[in-house]
Amino acid sequence: MFLRFTPLELGELIAQVESPARGGVASFLGLVRNHHGGRQVVRLEYSAYEPMAEAECARIVAEAEERWDCGVALAHRIGMLDVGEVAVAVAAASPHREEAFAACRYAIEEIKRRVPIWKREFFVDGGVEWVGSGARSELLRDTTGR
């Protein structure tokens, strides 16, 4: 499962890909920032088209592992997150550090480009907006249905 509903642990992902033959492990964490567009963010909520998001994440891992001599693990948090929490985590291990970095970078870029995940930002001024579409959110219930 690439989508997670509880806090992400980078160590868990690294443990999935490290091995005695892979001397380099590159990783990336995306954290919830406290600001966006000049406004102060207090928390945000991620939702997903879950079966497609799982399928896209699996394709991204397979593509990276085919293109580089590496193992890749990734996870994306869904649900309500506070500022500073880990939203996305990627780890890539390879015998060569260049390949570990390249695979890690590829995975995070493709996650952002292709995986059907959305987020609403909750601002300190009480506003709620869908990131990307810029639409104000009217529904204040938990759209993830959890």
């Binding site: 088209y49 497609m52 996650i111 059907p116 959305w118 987020k119 869908w130 990131v131 579409s133 959110s137």
Partner: protein, 88 residues
């Protein structure tokens, strides 16, 4: 020769994020005269209350894969209308 005699296909529509809010629902069944493309389904959705806030060519996924607006629909397809992605 009447429209009721034309064959129809039924697809399941999924709406997410801001688009689900625009139309006030997250899923619906849509019957369309055959043959129909994704563009035809989107045009129908845009005629619904609140549907005018959907873009004319939104990002779409058919049965879990992204597809262009010209892609044909078959009965039983799951068509997801995707707002701008914001993962990561």
């Amino acid at each position: 020769m009447t429209t009721t005699e034309r064959a129809t296909l039924t697809v399941r529509i999924l709406l997410f994020g801001s688009y689900a809010e625009f139309l006030g629902r997250e899923a619906l069944e849509l019957a369309l005269p055959e043959p129909a493309t994704i563009g035809d389904a989107v045009a129908r959705l845009r005629s619904f209350p609140g549907g005018n806030r959907l873009p004319a060519r939104p990002l779409c996924a058919l049965n879990l894969s992204q597809v262009p607006a010209e892609a044909p629909l078959s009965s039983g397809d799951e068509l997801a209308i995707l707002p701008p992605l914001a993962g990561g």
